[in-house]
Amino acid sequence: MKIKLKIMMPCNEAAHICDKSQYNESSVWEKIKLYTHILYCIACRKYVKANNRLSLLIKKSQVTCLDKKNKDALKINFQKALKDVGIK
């Protein structure tokens, strides 16, 4: 009975574990709890599926962005140009 209570969890906790596991930040026990939860919860099963798909798409697209240092440098240059044009 105790194990049963420990393994059960509400949907918001399941969603939180699912989010964490997308970044490899969930423990094995949390994963067991999550996969037990989605055995009986259709809504969470849908969320897990969509979340996994989103992670896969992001990985596949190889999206990238400027790091903070370069972005700041670009910002400073652009602000100088803005001043030269006379826009505050």
Binding site: Y47, K60, T64, C65, L66, N70, L74, F78, A81, L82
Partner: protein
């Protein structure tokens, strides 16, 4: 149709990541991509008076960026001394270069479709990201695309981890919904 107006003060915050990602998938070099994005913003600033308000700011900036990318390729091709690559597909007038290898399908070419799809997917992700509230988009970008640790993001933005996870959850739900129509 409402006329769009330009607001250059917000260009960097709103469009830099989208433009950078657009460029890097086409030039494949971070430094060159950064230079091209910077040139695009400066060119946009100079030609603000030519903006008619028919397109959105982002579309207008992308059209400038496209010209910049084309110019970049023109420039490097002229420097290379116009290295020639002859593909004689079905031209029988000369025997020269009429090798069998030319007619065999390139096995590496099959990835070309994937590359195009990935470019489109990258553009779609940034379009969806731009629809999120700025704070949500920033945190999602830092955590998912830049891969920054939770603790570092919390320290930088002065938020608690539980707050961060709530924002990540909302951002992921919105992103999944936005990408659902075309990519799920």
């Amino acid at each position: 149709m409402p006329k769009h107006v330009l607001n250059p003060n917000k260009w960097i915050d709103l469009y830099v990541d989208y433009l950078f990602n657009y460029t890097i998938s086409r030039v494949n070099n971070r430094d060159i991509a950064q230079d091209l994005v910077q040139e695009t913003f400066l060119a946009g600033l100079k030609s603000m008076k030519n903006f008619k308000g028919e397109a959105t700011e982002r579309t207008w900036l992308i059209s400038i960026l496209k010209r910049k990318i084309i110019d970049y390729y023109r420039k490097i091709n002229s420097n290379k001394g116009k290295a020639e690559i002859r593909i004689t597909s079905n031209n029988d007038t000369e025997n020269e270069g009429d090798w069998l290898e030319n007619r065999v399908a390139d096995p590496f070419d099959k990835t070309a479709e994937d590359t195009i799809q990935n470019k489109e997917l990258g553009d779609a992700i940034y379009k969806c990201l731009s629809k999120l509230p700025k704070k949500h988009a920033d945190i999602f970008r830092m955590k998912t695309i830049e891969g920054i640790e939770t603790e570092d993001i919390c320290n930088e933005l002065k938020i608690t981890p539980s707050n961060l996870w709530v924002i990540i959850h909302r951002a992921r739900t919105a992103m999944a919904l936005c990408l659902k129509e075309d990519w799920f």
